[in-house]
């Protein structure tokens, strides 16, 4: 199928719109001048300043810790929830349960953040890394559960029955058959939870205390006052990490695809 000029134009403009702002950001992160919008020459000095800024490094460390813990916890809980929803047939309060899975997806972050903060104050829990982890786990597990349950729905239940039939205990059937098959969904659920946690400003702002500042909070308070070259450098690093991750992921899946294709071609 050949594309018409109209279609080519919309694709070009569309992707230019999506990517130009980030490309400009990356380019200007190498600008020497403190005045971000005036190009005076190539320099990597803002990267140097960034990496010597202990506050940013601390925030990055806190963010990473929170993301790893909350996404792992969210993956476990979200997978359990998906399993309960798809396989749990009937249990009391099922409607409430599925409502609680879907509601956080559409709930404005300001409300989720506010309500969790009020809870933490109410039970007298000191705000810090722990409270952010709890908050992030709660909304991320819902995303994980949606991702995993969409895979579970299309999962042929007779595979599990076959495993039982061949002598597996229910736990073995889950471990040896179900889990390997839904693994891609569980992994992408984890990745989604991880990025959501890395990215979150609003909920973290509500649920954190003075002891734990995450990177988005740090960035937000910096950019509120305007564009800053350090933030440009930091953004570039974050974009680079994501791009690298996506490229690696797509290379891996491509390699698997090619391998399978070869396997198919090898049959007769």
């Amino acid at each position: 199928m050949r594309l018409s000029w109209f279609n080519i134009t919309s694709l070009t403009l569309g992707f230019a719109f999506l990517y130009l702002p980030m490309i400009i950001l990356v380019i200007y992160s190498f600008n020497e001048s403190r005045l971000v919008t005036v190009w005076t020459g190539f320099s990597t000095k803002w990267y140097g300043e960034l990496l010597s800024n202990q506050a940013f490094l601390d925030a990055a460390w806190v963010t990473l810790k929170v993301a790893v813990f909350s996404s792992t916890l969210a993956t476990v809980l979200g997978t359990l929830a998906a399993y309960a929803l798809v396989r749990g047939a009937r249990f009391p309060g099922r409607t409430l349960f599925s409502g609680m899975i879907y509601a956080p997806l559409v709930m404005p972050e300001v409300i989720t953040g506010l309500s969790l903060l009020l809870l933490f104050i109410g039970i007298g829990l000191d705000r810090g890394v722990l409270t952010i982890v709890l908050a992030h786990t709660t909304f991320a597990m819902c995303y994980v559960s949606v991702v995993v349950s969409s895979r579970l729905v299309s999962f042929d239940q007779s595979l599990e029955e076959a495993a039982l039939d061949l002598g597996c205990s229910p736990w073995d059937a889950f471990r040896l058959v179900t889990l390997p098959i839904i693994a891609p969904a569980v992994i992408s659920g984890w990745l989604l939870a991880f990025t959501l946690s890395l990215d979150d400003l609003v909920i973290a702002s509500f649920t954190t205390g003075p002891s734990a500042t995450t990177l988005p909070i740090k960035i937000f308070s910096a950019v509120r006052l305007g564009v800053s070259p350090e933030i440009n450098a930091l953004s570039t690093l974050m974009i680079a990490v994501v791009t690298l991750g996506v490229i690696i992921a797509s290379l891996i899946s491509k390699r698997n695809f090619v391998r399978e294709q070869q396997g198919v071609a090898g049959r007769h």
Partner: protein
């Protein structure tokens, strides 16, 4: 035993960290501000019992929301901004989704990846990237002044226009993906059949393509509209002090004014407003699922 465990763990988690917190918001929205820690009354105490506790709750904060025009203006302005930017996102997103669906098969995976990729980069950074472009001495004004299109720099940052741009930019993948999914399923022989029966290209598009991608359009619109309504980051970074959005008002009420009861009332009303589009969206999704199965 195992079954109970699987259901109970996530269930209790969500009860404790989603439903109960929300009940607390509801309760505080019915309380009064007080110079206390936490700064509201009544506090529940077992000695006084439920009766005394409930009798102190009232709708004062909700009445307050209607008397101070800041709040209803903020709600209206949020609705207006969300609706306008949803429409803009649709107008910009549809041609992209359409072109993607028409693209050669070997491009599709790459195009899909290019649309999804921004999802994985920080939302905050994506919004931030427009600050440098739209500011008075920003790249856009530099370009336009350099080209001689304008003689005075445009003021875009800290206006609604900047908010629209920010919303369209960050939420457009939500619009493109469902529309693309609908158009992708569309059998191209339907268009050929319409043309064979005497439709012009444009007419066939209007009579066949658009109605058959309707579910994608509706899903996309809700996916943009619902989250923008409570948006905080975009109005506070791009909208300036002149742009009223309810997420921002809530934030300021809470952090700057420390008026927890009013902030909670704002939240409760926002949820009530959101219920309508969410229910409509659910119905649309359900209809779509039924149609597919």
């Amino acid at each position: 035993m195992r079954r109970v465990f699987i259901i109970a763990v996530p269930y209790l988690w969500l009860l404790a960290l989603f439903l109960i917190p929300f009940a607390i918001v509801l309760k505080i929205s019915l309380s009064d501000v007080a110079m206390a820690r936490p700064p509201y009354l009544p506090q529940f105490s077992w000695e006084a019992g439920w009766g005394a506790f409930l009798s102190q709750l009232d709708f004062e904060n909700f009445t307050f929301l209607t008397t101070d025009d800041l709040y209803w203006k903020a709600y209206l302005s949020s609705l207006q901004i969300a609706a306008t930017s949803t429409l803009l996102t649709l107008l910009i997103g549809y041609p992209i989704a359409y072109a993607m669906a028409r693209a050669p098969d070997e491009w599709r995976a790459t195009l899909m990846m290019l649309v999804i990729l921004p999802f994985w980069t920080s939302f905050l950074i994506r919004v931030y990237s427009w600050m440098g472009i739209l500011s008075q001495e920003g790249y856009l004004n530099q370009l336009l002044l350099g080209l001689g299109v304008i003689s005075e720099p445009l003021i875009i940052l800290n206006t609604k226009v900047a908010v629209y741009i920010g919303i369209v930019y960050t939420y457009i993948p939500f619009m493109i993906l469902p529309i693309y999914a609908a158009l992708h399923r569309l059998d191209s022989s339907l268009i050929e059949a319409a043309e064979d029966l005497g439709c012009s290209r444009a007419k066939a598009f209007w009579l066949i393509t658009v109605p058959l991608s309707r579910n994608g359009i509706i899903a996309g619109c809700f996916l943009v509209f619902i989250p923008t309504l409570g948006e905080f980051v975009i109005p506070s970074l791009l909208g300036g002090s002149g742009t009223l959005m309810i997420g921002k008002v809530l934030w300021e009420e809470f952090f700057n004014n420390r008026d927890w009861p009013v902030a909670s009332a704002v939240a409760v009303v926002l949820v009530l407003i959101l219920i309508i589009p969410i229910v409509l969206f659910q119905q649309n999704q359900q209809k779509q699922n039924e149609a597919q199965s």
